[in-house]
Symmetry: C2
Subunit: 347 residues, 2 copies
């Protein structure tokens, strides 16, 4: 089942069911007005959405209309909990090797005594009210803020009890999306220097037009990992082509279990993976990253490692960033996330 | 106007209007089902709630019933953005002097080049789906986790544009509440050692039964500060009696402006002040804190400064924590927040 949220002037938008090939849509009005409403009572509402989905895919839905990604808000426009994880270890490893991470982050000690046996994952809670639609312009007041993209996957969850094991938590994945967790690297450096949490550095998060239930991925959904290539384009140039599954260090169930270590996650929690990343191959000056990069900061780390200094600058006004993921059939699974950075007036 | 949210089995509860003396309540059904709904369209809905409030306070509301704080969820049971600030500098100063803060947090550098002229406040985004009602038991799986209370104030905001100045942001305060931003100090130490954001250490936040519009405070609401005493009791003993206004380093408008530095705050954002704190008086071994403490970690810092080591342990199963604030007329303004820590099964 594929779901999206259409702009209708309200803050939560209007839930629509989208056909498998993303050509048609149908309002879900009879079942639920908003995605949050569907998530709040999923076992009752999801079968009704599934019925609409079946009719759509058979070409029999009476009031279907052409699906338009530019009408989409984020599938879940407001989330009560939003956690950014760091599921791809090679991202951190590459940055650390290039000296782009603070010392204490580089050498995390093992789990402290008294807080259970788990080593904590790198998680951070983000505001759930800055969720952007797939084609919304991304306002940036100042190019010196160092705007970067982070091409990621995201899950929307069911209720997950506190202390759930990874296998139990994995069952709580209701929907999957592409995500771009924008980061202001200059503000981030400042927050890290002061020992502050990520607040100012995280102005917005953007999502693919469509969220899909895991069964839509077929055999590409393997034990909490998506074995498909995420294509990242920057100003029309393909810069990242990592397989989302192969180098995912912690799978989605592990990330959710970490997030639920001391408290329950309520239905509608959004967990993002952090930027995809593939380890480099080769040694020294012949080292290569054939799958490219899914965040500019990682490209800069590669440049430091190869040439001694970073050469690539962060995003400028007018730049576009495009994320897409194709299924085994060669068609886009969740629609493309295509945004342009625009100059914003600074208050 | 005073508002509360009654438990009705739903996730967002049922909005009620409460009389000024907290004796009577009336469902707000005709105007809005939930507080979020009222906040989403405040200029249209607030006058209707105000009418109910007037009738209630005149004793003329037809379907009024006795107000019962034990029926209350948090006034806003799910928030799309929730930011914990640190408005009372003496809390940080006392902890720093006692060596209970990491070095980098103690000596924050001035604002970094390229991120604007502001020195950043100490902010952290928390999950908005772990909002507890004023008399809900607080489940704790393990006493060794170091559960602490943080007796605080909180604001619920209107839409506040990105980059708003403090005076503009202050106009965005819709409602005020008491808050207890629970903290697991052992998990916090672990997160800080690894350079991680506050996720596991923040299992829940609790709020007074009633949220009030600032005009309910009369002349005790002074330029973004509440000039009234917050009473904190631990197991029936008064441990904290700080004036919420006198030692508030950054006022509510400054906190909101900080939170909105790089992005808009949407209606229904909850901002908490961090624990109230008053500076000590006197020197050396005769130093005193006559207004006591509003978080155990600060009591422990006082013990370190006076005796060389902390003696007071964190919360145990069965402990109760009670916050209350009386208006100039001697009556509770927002109702008391009274919670007991209970043993919870650990998954």
């Amino acid at each position: 089942m594929k779901l999206a949220t259409y702009k209708d002037g309200s803050r939560d938008g209007q839930l629509v069911v989208v056909s498998r090939d993303l050509s048609l849509a149908h309002y879900a009005t009879g079942a639920a007005h908003s995605l949050q409403q569907a998530l709040d009572d999923w076992n009752f509402i999801a079968p009704q959405l599934q019925d609409v989905s079946l009719e759509l895919n058979r070409g029999r839905a009476r009031h279907a209309f052409a699906f338009d990604p530019s009408m989409c808000m984020a599938p879940l426009p407001r989330a009560h909990q939003c956690v950014r994880a760091a599921a791809y270890a090679s991202h951190r490893d590459t940055l650390a090797e290039a000296g782009l991470l603070p010392e204490r982050v580089r050498h995390a000690p093992p789990a402290a005594k008294g807080v259970g046996p788990r080593v904590l994952a790198d998680l951070c809670t983000l505001a759930g009210d800055a969720m952007q639609g797939a084609t919304d312009p991304l306002p940036l007041p100042d190019e010196a803020w160092g705007l970067d993209f982070e091409a990621s996957l995201a899950a929307i969850t069911a209720d997950i009890p506190a202390g759930s094991a990874p296998a139990r938590a994995l069952e709580g994945v209701r929907l999957l999306m592409l995500a771009n967790t924008w980061c202001l690297r200059e503000w981030q450096a400042h927050e890290r220097a002061q020992g502050l949490s990520a607040v100012h550095s995280r102005p917005a998060q953007s999502f693919s037009p469509v969220a899909v239930t895991p069964d839509e991925l077929g055999d590409a959904w393997v034990q909490g990992r998506v074995s498909l290539t995420l294509q990242t384009q920057w100003n029309g140039r393909r810069v990242g082509l990592c397989d989302a599954g192969a180098d995912m260090t912690l799978h989605m169930g592990q990330l959710l279990a970490q997030a639920a270590a001391t408290r329950a996650l309520l239905a509608g929690t959004v967990v993002t993976t952090g930027p995809l990343s593939c380890p480099g191959v080769g040694e020294g000056s012949s080292r290569q990253w054939p799958q490219g990069f899914h965040s500019i900061v990682e490209k800069r780390a590669m440049e430091v490692l190869l040439q001694g200094q970073a050469a690539t600058g962060y995003l400028r006004w007018g730049d576009t960033v495009r994320l897409d993921m194709k299924g085994r059939d060669g068609h886009s699974l969740m629609g493309a996330l295509v945004q342009q950075v625009v100059e914003a007036a600074q208050a």
